[in-house]
Amino acid sequence: MGWYYIQGILILSGIYLMAVLGLSLLTGFTGLFSFGHAGFMAVGAYTTAAMTIKFNVPFILALLIGGLAAALVSLVIGKLTLNLKGDYFCIATLGFGEAIRLILDNVQYFGGARGWPGIPLKTGLMNVIIFNVIAVVILVNLIKSRHGRNLQAIREEEMASQIIGINVFKYKMISLAISAAYAGIAGGMLAHYTGFLQPKMFQLIKSTELTIMVIFGGLGSISGSIIGAIVLTSLPEVLRAFDRWRLVVYGASVIFIMITRPQGLMGGYEITITNIKKLISRITSLGKKKHTIGGDN
C-alpha cells in the first residue's frame, strides 16, 4: 500500500472528523440529533469552491468563509426548527438538508445536478491536521466551560435548564451554528480534495454516516468521535476487498455496534492524560488482566 493511498484515507478521515467534531457538539453534548449536516457540508463546500475559483480567495480564508456561510444558514434553520421536539427536529433538519441539496441541484452556476468538476486540489494532510487540532482545542475548551456545561444541562433536562436561567434556545442556536461551521469547513476541504462537487454527494446518507460516526465513538466523547471518524472512514476502504459484499458488511457492522455496544466505543469517556494514568495504575494493580480503555462494561 503506497503512502499516497494511506495519506488519502487519512485526509478523508480528517475531513470527516472535522464534521463529526461539530456534530458531536450538537448531538453528544447538546442532545440534538441532526440529519441535515450533509446540507451544511454542501453549503460550505460550494461556498469555499466558489470563493477560490470565482473570486480567487486564498484557500484557508475561503474555508473559513465556507464555515461561516454554513453557520449563517444554520442560524436561519435553527430559528425555524429549534423549537421542535425530539424526532420532529430531527426530521426538520433532514428536510432542510435535502432542500439545500435540491436547491443546489438547480443552481446552474455551480453545474446544477450534473456536478462541478475541476475544482483545484488544495486540501493536503498538513492543513487537514492543523485545522483538526485547532478544532479539537476549541471544542474541548468550550465544553469545559460554563457554556459547555449549559449545553450539557440542556441535553440532560431541558426544562430544568430553563429554570436555572439558561437561555435554551440561544444555546441550541450557538451549538447548531458551531457544528454547522465545522461541517461547512469540512465541506470546503472535501471540495478541494475530490476536485469535484455534485449535490448528490450530500444526500441524507452522508448525514447519517456522520451521525453513525458520532454514535460509534460514543456520545459525549471527543476522543470517541475522533476514533469513530477514522475507523469508519477507512472501513469502507479496507472493505473494498470484499467487493460487492462491502456495504453488506458495513450495514451489518452498524447494526452489530448498535445492539452490542450502544453506548459507543468510548461510552462517554475521554482519553486524557489523567485517565490514561488511572488506567495504567489500574492495569498494574490488576496484574496481567487485560483491560479496555474507559473501563465500564
Partner: protein, 258 residues
Amino acid sequence: MSTILALKNVTKQFGGLTAVGDMCFDVKKDSISGLIGPNGAGKTTIFNLITGIYNVTEGEILFEGNRVDGLQPYQIADTGITRTFQNIRLFKKLTTYENILTACHYNTDYSILDAVIRNKKFRTGEKKLHQQVQELLEIMELTDRKDAVASNLPYGLQRRLEIARALALKPKLLLLDEPAAGMNPDETIRLMNLIKEVRDRFNLTVLVIEHHMDLIMGICDKIVVLNFGKKLAEGTTQEIQSNSKVIEAYLGEEDVIC
C-alpha cells in the same frame, strides 16, 4: 415586610378547563409561605405560571413590582426566581458536583471566546464557581456524595440536590414543589429545618407546596389554600388549621398524621 411576589387576577385555562381562576395573593419578602390544597387544585400550575413554563391566560404576575408574566423561563430565573419540581428533574447523568456547578453559571460572565482561549477572565471566573460549589455542597451536606451520578442518589438526596441546584442561582424567591414527597417522617423534619436554615442564610423568600402538614404548619408564616383553582382561604397556620372550609375540603376532620 414588603411584597416580593404578587399574583393579580391570574387565570389559566387548558382548553375548557380553568386550572387556576382569578387568583390573587401576595408573598412577603423573607417569609416562608405555604401553598396547599387538594390534588388538582392548581398548585403546580401556579408554579408553572410564575416560572413562565405556562403562559397566563389572564392577569398579571408581579415580582418586586415588575411584570414577569410573558417572560421566558430563563428570563424569570434572571430576575431571581427559581424552583424545584414535583417530579424530580435533575441533570440525571451528571454528578452532584456538576449539577450544582452548572447552575452556578450566573455568577461569572466570561464569554465563549474567553473560554476558547482560556484567558485570565476565564480562569478567575471558573475558580469563583468552584468555590461556590464547595460552599453549597457543605451547606446542603452533600460533600461526601459529590461525585455520585445524580440518578443513583437516593430519593431524599435527589430532592436535596434539587434545592442545592436552585440555591446556586442565588435566587431571591425559591419555589418548592412537594419537597418532602416520598420522604419518611424523620427525613421530613430534617428537611423542614434545612429550609429554615437556608432561608436565613441566603435571605430568601420561600413559597412551598406540600401535603405533609407537619412541614407546612411547622415553617410557614402564611398559608394560601386553593381548591378547584380558586383561593379557598389565606392566613396564618392557626387560622388555616381551624378554618372549617379548609378542614372540609382538604385537611379532614381528625387530626392528620403527616
